[in-house]
Symmetry: C2
Subunit: 174 residues, 2 copies
């Protein structure tokens, strides 16, 4: 029987791919601002509702969600990122930093992840298993924030489509 | 060693949970329209950009994405849904129909899913493995469309928050 990488690793690889797509959206947004002669810094404060978080937060939180998921599931300490980005280029650097952090993991790091006990200060002493935390919390949160980043750009005229969201698909000849 | 359900099944269970949350957002949106004295049918055409699809499409496509993923990965034929919904109540019936369809699957249905060959007419004869299709295509697409549905409601004043998105989390005493 062939070796099956733990589910958590396979999903983290997919999330890393999506971060790569997010980086391309930031590049496209910068080009859009240049073409329309507005300061790309403006994107950072755009939001879809007055009581939703702005674009910068969506990107930062997408990065943190996958970074913390990888670290917690592998029992490691994640590097800190202080949320001080002031431009799209700085947000791209954040995405790059997290992508490189994820590059350091292998499937073997997640062999004990399913049953690892995960907690956060806000959970007031309660815990989730690694799999429950990943599937119920980290995974949907990650896609929530990347999709909000995408939607804020689309709402503000940046030319993106579903292919930019998904990225290339691993198709084969039958 | 305890039995591990195939990854595809565990993810489909999570996606089904998210459909349950989507149903609650539709209920909250209906109550919001009633409180503000507008016709809840109006939501169906709301969109975040003129060249994005409207709310009704986001809900229909979220439903189709998870329905088709389950069917294709299990080698079954999915029931058809003709995209004729004209109200939030009809969209809720669509969500309910797909949720009940997903209830009919067990972990055993996905034991061959990882290596099953998946194709769609638009792929022009090419195929994806079950796992590639699920992780690269179905999973991110599903969260794309549910998050767009959520974001369109938030953009139009419906009172939802992250807890409504995630739903209850399986927390335990340590």
């Amino acid at each position: 029987m062939r070796y099956h990488a733990p589910m958590h690793y396979e999903l983290l690889v997919q999330m890393k791919k999506t971060l790569g797509q997010l980086d391309k959206w930031l590049e496209t947004a910068t080009a859009h601002a240049t073409a329309k002669s507005f300061d790309p810094k403006l994107y950072l404060e755009f939001r879809l509702a007055p009581d939703q978080r702005p674009f910068s937060f969506q990107v930062q939180t997408a990065c943190d969600t996958v970074k913390l998921a990888a670290a917690r599931l592998a029992g490691k300490q994640a590097p800190g990122h202080p949320d001080t980005e002031q431009s799209l280029d700085e947000l791209r650097a954040r995405v790059k930093s997290v992508t490189e952090y994820l590059d350091g993991f292998t499937a073997k790091d997640f062999e004990g992840a399913a049953t690892r006990s995960i907690t956060q200060p806000r959970w007031e002493g309660k815990v989730m298993t690694g799999t429950d935390y990943f599937l119920e919390h980290a995974l949907p949160n990650f896609y929530f924030h990347v999709t909000h980043a995408y939607a804020i750009l689309r709402h503000n005229g940046v030319g993106l489509g579903k292919r930019d969201y998904l990225g290339p698909l691993t198709m084969r000849q039958p």
